[in-house]
Subunit: 234 residues, 2 copies
DNA sequence: GAGTGGTCTAGACCACTCT
DNA sequence: GAGTGGTCTAGACCACTCT
């Protein structure tokens, strides 16, 4: 049994993500949501305040709350969800799995993740495309010991990151950010010139101590920046 | 007249930042804070929940709330202290102030920081050198309205960032990370080839709502990476 | 068992701004 | 002027975990 505020929040996020509520769309007033969910105003107020603090909606007295316009600063340095970001920005998004295999983890990755060397990993390479422009190339390992159902997943509707996010709540994450010059292979994938500065984000996530996934995501430096806000939520 | 929850939050943050309450220190129970501030539990609960979401404290039923260990704090791309890092690594460190001036803030920076346009800022350009190799180039604005004593500081012993860190504890920070190709000027400063991918970290910090400083730090991409650990935000 | 925090209610007054 | 969100109160019940 989920908490009420989580259910309300999930419902609203789902509507924003699906595009049903696009940027500028007015969200129901607090008292409408009270009626809809049969709860007190404090509860819906907490949900909407949190969504506003996270930048998904903007609130104005008298005018109500609306789905936020996408900020010019795209990628957020929390757990990223390309589909959600694209939906918020009103951008056509698609992805393409370029590679898929199951392999025992190699020595270097075993050391990084703390897993035994023979652990089976699902290896995926995904290209993320928005408005026909490649925006990121993602190389991902998924621990099949922790997420065995990934083996049966075709990743037709959601890219691996989004799929994982919905299925496996994470408790810890480690990030490494570097800048690299694109080699010719990467440049071709991302449709940039060889040598273009790219942002490389490596993210490893654990769930209660169990390694879940490692992603290495390469962004063209001129198309993306990572933003982290460490300010009060209120 | 500030809001009550802001006053409580500022008080607690100030005690944590000053070191009066160090990591592991138990924070007063909610009902103690209710008595101290003469308010309802909802109000102190909101403050403590926000602080927990921001990683400043950890909360446990029955045991109460304690100041979080720095490693588990959410401030990922931590406030960096070149001198401290170099000392830890046993590396010779020096810095050189390449430029110093006092200028009214320009329109673009005023918008970023929320300051009035005519605010006087101390502008500093600093090169950070370790073992005779340039490791970072830093362009910094310091708000003289918040930190007037910076005007009199020669920055002989400590670089601006370290000096500020000791003098003005920060409560809020915003980070932006990008990748750029070094232009010829930057390449010369950092002793890399023109076009080398560099990591650019922009950091803006506030103390209890007052803007303190903005730093844009450029690192050669092959010499540096940023590492951070996260736990979920509520 | 007892005390803590997590969530929620059903109100209230106020500040803001114009659906 | 009226309706919205921002904040706050004084309760309540429950889940969790051991100061």
């Amino acid at each position: 049994m989920k908490h009420l505020h989580q259910r309300i929040r999930d419902d609203i996020e789902a509507r924003i993500m699906s595009g049903e509520w696009s940027p500028g769309h007015r969200i129901p007033y607090e008292h409408e949501l009270m009626t809809e969910y049969g709860c007190s105003r404090m509860t819906v107020n907490k949900v909407l305040s949190t969504l506003a603090a996270n930048g998904l909606i903007t609130r104005r007295r008298r005018a109500g709350s609306v789905v936020a316009e996408p900020s010019s600063q795209q990628a957020v340095l929390q757990i990223q969800d390309f589909a959600l970001e694209a939906a918020r920005a009103g951008i056509e998004y698609r992805f393409k799995i370029l590679h898929r295999s199951i392999e025992p983890i190699d020595a270097a990755a075993a050391q990084r993740t703390g897993l035994p060397v023979e652990t089976k990993m699902l290896c995926l390479s995904t290209l993320h495309v928005m408005d026909d422009v490649p925006q990121a190339f993602e190389q991902r390992l998924i621990n099949l010991a922790t997420v065995p159902e990934a083996d049966q997943e075709a990743f037709k509707d959601d890219p691996p990151g989004t799929w994982l996010l919905r299925r496996v709540p994470w408790t810890d994450a480690e990030h490494i950010v570097r800048a690299v010059n694109a080699d010719s292979t990467m440049a071709k994938r991302l449709q940039v010139q060889t040598g273009t500065a790219c942002l490389v984000l490596e993210r490893r996530t654990w769930q209660a101590g169990a390694f879940v996934t490692e992603a290495r995501i390469t962004y063209p430096g001129d198309r993306h920046q990572l933003v982290g806000r460490f300010s009060p939520v209120a």
